[in-house]
Structures are given as C-alpha cells and as structure tokens.
C-alpha cells in the first residue's frame, strides 16, 4: 500500500495528544459519562490542570520529546496528484495531509481529587451568617465550590460531608467543631425523645424532632445543618435518599475526643475515671458503647496507665522529630497506641511496623510489642 | 533546488522531562 504524504503550509497548533488509560477509555465509552478539564485555584494559571469524570481525577503531566510527530488526515485531492515515479513503487492509493505537529503528549496520572476550601468560611451557628448580600463570600454556591476544586464531583462531596460542610442560604460553609458538637447533641437528644430509630434516621423526621418547641427566629439548626450532622455521623441507607444509619462508634469517638480535651488536657486522668467522665458527656440514656482503645491517636500515657490528651496537630511534621517528641512524652509505647500518631507520615505506604522500625526499637514483652527510642 | 524537503536525523530520543500543565498552555 502506498500513500502520498502532504503537509499544509500552515499547520494547526490547537491539537493535543492525551494518554487514554483503560479507565479513561471506559469513561469515554459510557455515553452518560462526562469528562471535564479543570484548573484549581482562583487565578487562571494558579493551579495544575486536571481531568475529571464524575468520580475520578487525573493529573495532566506534559511529556516533551525530541521527535517529529505529524498528525495527518486522509483526503481526496481536487486535482490528480502527479505520480512520483522515482521509486518504482505501486501507484499511491490515497493521500494524507499533515494538519498538525506535536512535540509533547499529556500523560494522565490518577490522583485523589482534593476539595478547595480556600475562601469557604467557618460557621459557628451565629444567626448573622451569611451577610445580607453575600458579597464578602467568594464561593457563592456548591457549583462554585466544585468548579474551583481540582476534584471530581463524587470526591468533592465525599470530602465535604466528612469535613462538616454545609450550606446556609445556599452559601457553602464548614460548621465549626463546637457548633457541630452542639448540633449532634441536640439531634441525639431530640431523636431519643421522639423514639426515632438510630439505624434509620430520616431527615424530615429528625429535623422536625430537633425543631419541636424551638423558637424559629433564634434556631440555628436548619434542615441543612441537620443534614450535615447526619452526613458526618452516619451512613446513607442504600436505596433510600435522605435516610441515614447513625455511626454509633464514630459518635462515641467524637464525644471521647472532646472529653479528653476537656478533662485530660492540663493533667492526666486514670482510665476508669475518664470512662465515667466520657459517659457523662453523652445525652442521658444514650446507648453508645465506649472503650479507651477507640481513642487511640488522641492520648498518651505520661505515667503508668493514666491518660492525657495529645493532638497530632501539635506534633512536628518531620518524622524523626515526631518520634523524638513522642518518646519524650512517653518513653515506651504499645505499637497500637503509637501507630496512629505516625502513620500519616508513612507516605511510601510501608507496612506500619516496618515503617516504625526505621525510627524506633521494637521488643516483645509477653504478648505485646513495646516501642521505644533507638 | 530552493525547495528543501529533508529529514535532519537525531542520534538519540529524549522524553524524560515531565511537568504539570497550566490552563493557559492548553489554549496557546
């Protein structure tokens, strides 16, 4: 087969070549799917370009190369092309014309999409939020939030729910830790008062229960706030929109962390005493089981078995410094107690004991592994 | 012959460099 090759005198610089992984090819084949190029940030060249389907995000990486790549399209010449007889080959059967050249390809690397929370305010339940005209709020809707995040829609919403994201009069905001705790407490008490089923909490019923006998003018627990509370502390019931199963373990842990902060920040507390304090923070008759081990990653034991609150946010981000600090606070640790304080720095994804062994010493004492400094 | 149609050969092939993509470069 012989082909005449031509090139346009003026080529088109608007073409690009994009690596299509098997996952991307599947997205293309699905007629209901959509693909979108996005750049995060507030300025056109601020953030990196990503490609998003409904539930996945790929980072674009430009791979330059040194070859000539010509993109060509078959065409039928208007005039019969004069035959090149120099080469003694069969007469060409078709003609192709180069319409573009490229010196790079866009590789596509699957990444975890990250929601963009710059400019999303924290809402503490104040009735003054949002300001009357909303002009001070750059992110005016959930569509704005999604458009400014280098993230697929599904990843964005999932992170949003876990962070306590909410909308107040349509404006996206993050509920403050204190406000979320109050909303959870009020929701639990109201749900128990109305004998609602924790495994099937419907938004309408829960909202009505919370708002029963509430003065609407000073009530910060809007439908959206209740929904945010259910999203953060529950799991959506399959095939039932607006219905959640309360995650009792997650709720108990939330109360436990706040109890540690309240009763064990300045000085340590015996475990038995702490359990009583923890239980006392729940709404009366709340049916949640509690165990100290649920709060691993939130306490250390300065002396013997006493507990004292410790937040990862106060620890160094350098791994060696972090271990140094942890051993200064507590000279010997159970493997299970220290792991939650260091695993976020295990960026290479090693097995956690292998990772810890790079920076500490492990010895077996009875049935347990004790971690201490090298 | 002022009409020059020619391949200037390159001994090697390089494609190691990769960089993130800025929005404006998609359109330029």
């Amino acid at each position: 087969m012989s082909l005449n090759l031509h090139e346009r005198l003026s080529t088109d610089g608007s073409f690009r070549l994009l690596h299509l992984t098997p996952e991307l090819l599947e997205v293309l084949k699905d007629s209901n799917s959509k693909l979108q190029f996005k750049a995060a940030g507030n300025d056109e060249d601020d953030g990196d370009v990503v490609l998003c389907s409904r539930d996945k995000t790929w980072l674009l990486r430009q791979k330059n190369h040194s070859n000539t790549v010509m993109l060509m399209h078959e065409f039928t010449p208007e005039q019969e092309t004069s035959l090149e007889t120099t080469f003694g080959l069969p007469n060409p059967t078709s003609d192709f014309a180069g319409f573009a050249r490229t010196t790079f390809e866009y590789e596509t690397k699957k990444v975890s999409g990250i929601i963009n929370l710059d400019s999303v305010p924290v809402h503490n339940g104040s009735l003054d939020f949002p300001p009357a005209d909303g002009q001070d709020l750059p992110v005016k809707s959930m569509d704005d939030l999604l458009a400014s995040s280098a993230c697929s829609e599904k990843e964005c919403l999932s992170q949003w729910n876990q962070l306590g994201g909410c909308t107040v009069k349509g404006y996206p905001c993050i509920l403050s830790s204190d406000f979320l705790s109050k909303a959870l407490h009020v929701t639990l008490m109201s749900a128990m008062a109305e004998s609602l089923d924790f495994s099937r909490l419907k938004l309408d019923e829960t909202f009505d229960a919370v708002n029963k006998d509430m003065d609407q003018d000073s009530n910060p627990y809007t439908r959206e706030v209740i929904k945010t509370t259910l999203e953060k502390y529950g799991k959506r019931v399959k095939d039932d929109d607006d219905c959640w199963q309360l995650d009792q373990k997650k709720v108990a842990e939330w109360y436990g962390i706040r109890a540690l902060r309240k009763y064990a920040s300045q000085s340590s507390i015996p475990p038995a005493e702490f359990l009583i304090k923890w239980k006392s923070t729940f709404p009366p008759y709340a049916p949640f089981d509690i165990e100290i081990e649920m709060l691993r990653g939130w306490f250390f034991r300065p002396t013997g078995s006493n507990l004292q609150y410790l937040s990862k946010n106060t620890l160094p981000s350098d791994i060696k410094e972090r271990f140094k600090m942890l051993f200064k606070l507590q000279s010997q640790w159970d493997m299970d107690d220290i792991a939650p304080f260091v695993e976020e720095l295990n960026t290479k994804g090693l097995k956690i004991d292998v990772f810890i062994m790079k920076y500490a010493r492990k010895r077996r004492v009875g049935k347990k592994f004790i971690i201490s400094s090298r | 012959d002022e009409i020059r149609i020619w391949v200037r050969y390159k001994e090697g092939f390089s494609d190691a460099v990769r960089k993130n993509v800025a929005w404006s470069s998609l359109w330029s």
């Binding site: 979108q36 090149e84 963009n116 | 002022e2």
Partner: protein, 127 residues
C-alpha cells in the same frame, strides 16, 4: 477556576460500535507519523507540481509512504533523496486526539490512535 467539558460527539459512533484502529489509519481517517529527527518542509508557496491547494489549504507533497501490511514494515521516501525504514507500532497507551478551540473555548476529542508509523533509523540515500 476555569473548567471546560470535553465533547466526544465525533467519537460517539466509533466508541459505541467498539471499532478501533487496527492499521495505519483510524476508522475516522487519521494517521500518526513519527520520525526521529527534524522534518524540514517548505512553508511558502512555490510554483511547483508538489504544491497544491485543497479547499482553503495550501499544501506541499513531501513524501511517499509504503506499508508492507503483511509484515507491518514501512518505508518512507522523503523529498527526492532520502529513504527511511520503519514500522507500524502499537501504542502502549492509546492517544486521544483533542482539539482546543481558542475562538469559542470548546474542547473536542476527535479520534483515538492505537498505532503509529515510526521511523527511528538514520535516513538512507536513494540510489
């Protein structure tokens, strides 16, 4: 915070029927040609039989590509003096051909390449 949807209108029938490229050109008539070197071609019109016009486009005929489909070998004659030996190569990762329209800010995926014609060897003289 810019964003743009990727239109796949042109590809739709191709993708639905699961047709894809199995030879030199795609079902939609596109071909990807790669040469290890710089290909010099005139950018100005000359009164010469190699220069033609097709619709609004002026173009120059610069080469002849011969494919031995049985062996996937390819020979490229460039100008009147050079001959390159190469082959039809299956791409490790298919490449989408995407057009970014600056005028209206739209983006369209126009085709998918599964093969390219690649010439990596030093050009030989034509005897």
């Amino acid at each position: 915070m810019p964003s743009v949807n990727v239109s796949k209108r042109q590809l739709q029938t191709l993708l639905q029927s699961d047709q894809h490229q199995t030879s030199v050109s795609t079902p939609l008539g596109n071909m990807m040609l790669e040469i290890q070197g710089d290909l010099e071609v005139p950018r100005q019109w000359h009164e010469d039989q190699r220069f033609t016009t097709d619709g609004e486009h002026q173009m120059v005929r610069w080469g002849l590509l011969h494919i031995d489909t049985a062996r996937n070998n390819a020979t490229l004659f460039v100008g009147r003096k050079q001959r390159l030996l190469g082959s039809l190569v299956k791409l490790d990762t298919p490449l989408g051909l995407i057009k970014f329209n600056q005028q209206d800010g739209t983006v369209e995926m126009q085709d998918v390449f599964h093969y390219k014609v690649l010439f990596k060897s030093r050009p030989l003289p034509i005897m």
